[in-house]
């Protein structure tokens, strides 16, 4: 089954961008960042914020898609924010990206074996075994998550929570 691939293969000018930000850990930073997107009518598809290794700073990973010229402008405007130490667009630079999903899927007795096979194939862990549902934890590229979710959907998706993508540049390059 082909999963939708938001990041490549399509020559359309709209593409998904993965942007990492290193920011001051201060109130209002998230609003300032979000407004750079909102002002231009751009949707933030995923957003992950957490503490950085240095105290007083946070990391944000944001995915958004749209016209590359406007995204270039968005990244420059992000970099201009006083609370943003740096903003890097990791699109197409082969950085390592990953995401976690928790999936609660309906699990009738006769479909349990199939579901467990799917889970095993995708290295998904069963983290909750209910009477009529399973909770799976799966991680990997967003495309892999899309694929496994589409496979599980026919069984009856009860709930889905995705963490949003996180990214780290490889080797000597910095995120």
């Amino acid at each position: 089954m082909a999963a939708p691939d938001p990041s490549g293969g399509n020559p359309s000018p709209t593409r998904s961008h993965t942007i990492s930000l290193y920011v001051n850990d201060r109130p209002g930073v998230l609003v300032r960042v979000a407004q750079v997107f909102a002002r231009r009518g751009y949707n933030i598809e995923s957003l992950v914020v957490s503490a950085a290794d240095q105290s007083g700073f946070s990391r944000m990973t944001i995915t958004s898609s749209g016209d590359p010229e406007i995204l270039e402008q968005i990244i420059k405007q992000l970099a201009k924010l006083v609370d943003v130490v740096h903003a890097v667009d990791h699109t197409g630079d082969h950085s390592y990206e990953t995401e976690i999903a928790l999936v609660k899927v309906a699990c009738a007795l006769d479909s349990r074996t199939e579901l467990l096979q799917i889970a095993e194939h995708y290295s998904a862990k069963v983290v909750d075994y209910g009477a009529d549902s399973l909770m799976l934890r799966v991680y990997g590229s967003s495309e892999k998550l899309d694929a496994v979710i589409e496979l599980l959907r026919p069984y009856g998706l009860k709930e889905l929570v995705r963490s949003g993508k996180i990214v780290m540049a490889r080797g000597v390059r910095s995120t």
Binding site: V23, N24, P27, G28, V31, R32, Q35, R39, E69, E72, Q73, K76, Q77, A79, K80, L81, V82, D83, V84, V85, H86
Partner: protein, 579 residues
């Protein structure tokens, strides 16, 4: 001996408010423009013991424009102090105005006590939240010990790099609590870098591009005013033998009476400046941001010309146009670095052509059939000869003032460009006069805009400022009326300002000298009388013909080539551009 200040009487550490005011004194603040209220009372109280002069305005919007005018006239930041809630929200228009035009402003707001934040307390407004999009940066201070650091950072941010407004929100319990923190001298802002000298490679690339040009044009923007690049720009123009144009906000950076200067270009710029833009083979923006008022239809803007863009803000590169060379840094330093790398260009034909356009399409106006605004402004130019600060409001009078009142000196022309804020001109002139007491200051305003901040007549009167306010009164919102005439079949809607007061009587009610001009023959005499009157403000009301249009013009969104030098003889399509 009685203690000189409250703090000495207490014999303890300063309060947050006292530390704030002392920090402002250390920043060299002369004036604070503001209006009091409950949450700001501790700060107003601390001002009693300060040498900083409080200019009490009649509305907070006026305070922001005064501070803005002060900042633009002096190059030093303007400081505003208001109370919480509506006091703070009344500064939003002034913040937008300053933000759009990169003016250094510090807006200090009182706020409800920290324990009541977010609980809909009396006069509480989420002011940092409301103002995020219109500030360069902002602070909600919850710890009095942070006050010295925040003030230092705010001034540094407001004035460095691309300047802009910074807002400081101060809860009342923070300003009343003691502050033991020392004054801050250094700033630690890891996310903020101030560009200085541009990369020499970009300067060399610009020199290479210039070398091949036969029809160069230097386009001077507000960045040249802010960085004081004007003299260097003129030297560059002279060395290259290249003509100059400036934007509405770039006026004054380079002397507009210089033989190579073609004045303002753009939507209502001179025809010869716009012809030069249309036909140049290279256009170099020096601190301009290719605003829609100067590019017209971007797809058809200078398609055959190479483009060089000098800007201190990297986010301006590739925003509107894709330049061949981007020079990221301070405009003055960049031009000074560029001058030694360029030689005289072969521009004889080009300068001859530009000269022909200048003779062929001069600015013109009718002197018949009543008093014309252009005539009044033309005579104002003859009177002040660039030696006065002129502030302009927004509308037809602003464009005519920009066309006729040539600026020869940096920071002698002040108007609201990006935001186009009606009500800016008069309070900005008050601020400019306070900052430049030895220079004559004229506000040129329309009857519409003037009424938005006319309450500041009281402020000007109390301060006994010799500021002059020329009201170009056509009893219309004239620019909108012009557009309705040209593009909406003259279906006038919401533009007739019937009910205007008698502005002479209005000024006199404030104890302000006021003069009226009804006839062209009175113009010189009345303007001179106002110009020479220094014993307080003077309002001059020019009762001009009601239905006059600004030309040249191009409809918003049209290419530069569709410039209307004269009134059109056919019906125009509705414009496609922004406004």
């Amino acid at each position: 001996m009685t203690p000189a200040t409250n703090q000495e009487a207490r014999n303890g550490p300063p309060s947050g408010a006292e530390k704030l005011v002392q920090s402002l004194e250390r920043e060299g603040v002369e004036y604070i423009f503001g209006l009091s209220g409950g949450a700001a009372m501790p700060i107003f109280d601390a001002l009693v013991d300060s040498k900083i002069r409080l200019v009490l305005t009649r509305h907070e919007q006026g305070a922001t424009h005064m501070a803005d005018g002060y900042a633009r006239a002096t190059g030093r930041p303007g400081v505003v102090l208001v109370t919480s809630g509506p006091g703070a929200t009344n500064t939003v228009t002034g913040l937008l105005t300053a933000h759009m035009d990169s003016a250094p402003l510090i807006v200090i707001c009182g706020q409800t006590i920290t324990s009541m934040l977010g609980k809909d307390a009396f006069q509480e407004a989420d002011v940092t939240g409301i103002t995020y999009p219109v500030v360069k940066h902002s602070y909600l201070v919850k710890d009095p010990e942070q006050i010295p650091r925040v003030v230092r950072e705010a001034f540094y941010l407001a004035t460095s790099g691309r300047p802009g407004p910074v807002l400081i929100d101060l809860p009342k319990d923070v300003t009343t609590a003691p502050c033991r923190a020392p004054f801050a001298d250094r700033v630690d802002l890891p996310g903020y870098r101030v560009p200085g000298r541009a990369d020499p490679r970009s300067i060399r690339a610009a020199a290479d591009l210039l070398r091949g040009s036969r029809r160069p044009l230097l386009y001077v923007g507000h960045g040249a005013v802010i960085s004081g690049a004007g003299k260097a720009v003129v030297r560059l123009a002279e060395k290259l033998r290249a003509p100059l144009v400036n934007t509405l906000l770039g006026k004054g950076a380079a002397d507009e009476t210089h033989p190579l200067h073609l004045g303002m270009f753009g939507m209502h710029g001179t025809a010869y400046a716009n012809k030069a833009l249309e036909h140049c083979d290279l256009v170099m923006s020096i601190g301009g941001r290719w605003d829609d008022r100067v590019t017209g239809k971007v797809d058809e803007f200078c398609v055959n010309a190479r483009k060089i863009h000098v800007d201190i803000d990297a986010a301006e590169f590739n925003k509107i146009v894709r330049p061949d060379v981007c020079i990221h840094g301070d405009a003055r330093l960049a031009i000074e670095d560029l001058i030694p790398l360029v030689d005289m260009l072969d521009t004889d034909d080009w300068l001859r052509q530009v000269g022909r356009w200048r003779r062929q399409y001069p600015l013109k106006y009718s002197k018949r059939g009543g008093l014309h605004a252009q005539h009044v402004l033309d005579r104002l130019q003859q009177l002040v000869q660039g030696q006065a600060v002129i502030t302009a409001d927004v509308g037809q009078h602003q464009m005519w003032a920009a066309q006729f009142c040539l600026a020869t000196t940096n920071r002698n022309w002040i108007t609201t460009g990006g935001a186009g804020t009606m009500g800016f001109g008069f309070p900005a002139a008050i601020g400019a006069q306070l900052g430049r007491p030895d220079t004559k200051v004229w506000a040129v305003v329309g009857d519409g805009g003037f009424q938005m901040t006319q309450c500041e007549l009281a402020t000007a009167a109390v301060q006994r400022l010799p500021v002059k306010c020329l009201i170009i009164n056509n009893n219309y919102l004239g620019m909108v009326r012009q557009w309705q005439e040209l593009f909406f079949d003259n279906r006038l809607s919401g533009v007739d300002l019937e009910g205007n007061p008698d502005f002479v009587k209005l000024a006199e009610a404030y104890g302000i000298k006021a003069l009226r001009i009804r006839r062209a023959a009175d113009v010189d005499r009345r303007l001179r009388e106002a110009h020479e009157y220094d014993d307080g403000p003077c309002v001059v009301v020019a009762e001009v013909v009601k239905e006059e249009n600004v030309y040249p013009m191009w409809p918003a969104g049209a290419p530069v080539s569709q410039l209307l030098i004269d009134p059109p003889k056919h019906k125009l399509e509705k414009p496609v551009g922004s406004t």
